[in-house]
Point group: C2
Chain length 350, copies 2
């Protein structure tokens, strides 16, 4: 069958390969891949920055944002033939750390986890894969192709679950959230903020293209005039760009007892002159909290499925700005200025 593969840590080794059918004996659900979303991690793997093939393999099948349909499942399993499913990306090491053993593989503390399409496990840019049922999460069939947003939604579902946990210490009700960046993660973070009843403000640079309207159609406020001109002091900031001035700004902008959640994976080496004394002083005197959030465990994937089911399907579909068939896979990585989420279409959704 066809699959999109790379030689990990070798730049520009992407190709459409012929790979064997999945035969793993111990993983008894067979899934037809319908679509895979593309994100910055894929681009970094293609550029050779990181990535790791499965043991004994040279090539890694790319892709971790999957939507599939169950073709075969044992009777009595949590998923059945015809179900739309997404596959959880991270798996614990066979000798799990305490967090992985507790089902919190997103908090893996020994770094020996594996991740489909990224680290030691093949991804989903292939026609079929096998999985055990407990790694699959059902997606509402009414979502159609928008179900491909499960993985980025799981990321923001974890971020919000952590924010909710930390906000418990504060007797003030959280009312205002800032999201920096109106890419897929930022827009989905804004969606979940609006679903929580918060007044949500989204900051990005662009003044045209689909992003301003996508934000406004959520009932949120769009800003493009810089974080220093925001005019609000949010209770919560969810930073989704990894861009240094916005990381710093999202820490500085929140009110006392405020929470800043960092989700953007920035490139190292972006130095900046920082008033660390002033920043530390403000954090201390205002009891502010800053945390980084990565990945998602099963509870967050299930929260993502609920959040997508509760969202407007038309709005979700507008995030999918570019759909590329598998045969044209190279085009999927030519990101346009107005693109939100590019989707590689692999199977037939109809």
């Amino acid at each position: 069958m066809r699959a999109v593969t790379v030689l990990p840590q070798k730049a520009n080794s992407l190709e459409l390969s012929d790979v064997p059918e999945p035969t793993e004996a111990d993983v008894d659900v067979l899934v037809d891949v319908l679509a895979v979303g593309i994100c910055g991690t894929d681009a970094e793997i293609i550029a050779g920055e990181y990535g790791e093939a499965p043991p004994g393999h040279d090539r890694l099948v790319l892709g971790h944002e999957s939507l599939g349909r169950v073709r075969q499942a044992p009777s009595g399993a949590d998923v059945a033939e015809g179900d739309l499913v997404a596959c959880i990306v991270r798996c614990p090491d066979p000798v799990p750390c305490a967090n992985c053993a507790a089902g919190q593989w997103d908090m893996c503390s020994n770094g020996r986890y594996t991740e489909h399409g990224i680290k030691g496990l093949d991804g989903f840019m292939r026609e079929r894969y096998r999985s055990s049922a407990d790694r699959l999460v059902r997606v509402d069939s009414a979502l159609g192709l928008a179900g491909v947003l499960m993985e980025p939604t799981s990321i923001v579902a974890k971020a919000w679950a952590e924010i909710d946990r930390f906000a418990e210490r504060d007797a003030e009700k959280q009312k205002i959230a800032l999201v920096t960046g109106a890419g897929p993660v930022g827009l989905l973070a804004a969606l979940l903020g609006v679903q929580r009843g918060l007044e949500v403000h989204v900051l990005d640079q662009v003044t045209d293209g689909p992003k301003p309207d996508l934000v406004r159609d959520l009932g949120a406020h769009y800003h493009s005039d810089g974080i220093e001109n925001l005019g609000v002091h949010p209770d919560i900031a969810v930073e989704c760009t990894g861009v240094a001035p916005l990381v710093l700004g999202s820490i500085e902008v929140v009110r006392p007892n405020g929470i800043t959640c960092l989700t953007g994976v920035s490139s190292p080496g972006r130095t900046k002159q920082v008033d660390l004394g002033g920043l530390n002083r403000a954090l201390v005197l205002e009891n502010n909290l800053v945390f980084g959030s990565v990945n998602a465990n099963r509870s967050h994937w299930k929260a993502a499925a609920r959040a997508l089911r509760a969202a407007d399907r038309g709005w979700l579909e507008r995030l999918l700005t570019h759909r590329v068939p598998l045969d044209d896979v190279r085009r999927a990585f030519d990101r346009g200025a107005d693109d939100v989420k590019v989707v590689l279409q692999i199977g037939d959704l109809s």
Copy 2:
């Protein structure tokens, strides 16, 4: 009676004044002040950097780290004549914010709190004060003068209570803590870490004077070779200096899912070239958490009283490296290189 006062925001206005006896009608416990600890906040107020006199007053009575003995209390009050007590520093505004109303004045969200000896309320460098019983916390009489450590201990009791709260999300047991700075706050943070059963490492610059032995006599490890040569990856860092490179180092040094608590109030304007991209990336990919912690509420003051009662009294007394009588108050601010805590003795403890 005699009191140490300043004209707030006027440098070097410190004097030993004659002030009226306390007569507040609604605060029915009369306390003889025995001793007041001196900290960096006092020095900054003397330097005119901040400070605010009570409404209608020109001068502010200095001092917030108090130890006193109850001279008069109504029958049935929580404190009785002869009790050693410390007075809680921060008071909510008469129209409290949600946090102050919930007894969490350390998390005050509108900034309208007052603080004895700092902001809008007279402090304790005077012979007597009046207080309502619910602002006083009893101190074990066996502690003697070491009871003057209640206020800095309340600061670290809050820091540790917050660390404990945040550590609940991590299935790994917290084993190793780093404390940066072996001043009073750092040493008391180390004491509470040891009391929690942690392996505690304390980093400071000095190689002589009392600090290395004070750390070792706690059963903790003393380091003076820089944070980059620590040789351990702590689960928790408690930063007690406010010095920019240590603030940054204490964020970078913790393991995945690690917690860094910032307690040091640094001077603003200390800029530093920071690899913000790399720092943000590490925070995100390691789920790290950084928070600032200031002040303490009643629950933390009571935790401080328990921590001091459980500590070795001889060790606590060794923190009080310099005892100055009230008449020599100016000498109390001439801090020696080997000083840990300087104490102004006001009453007779015997």
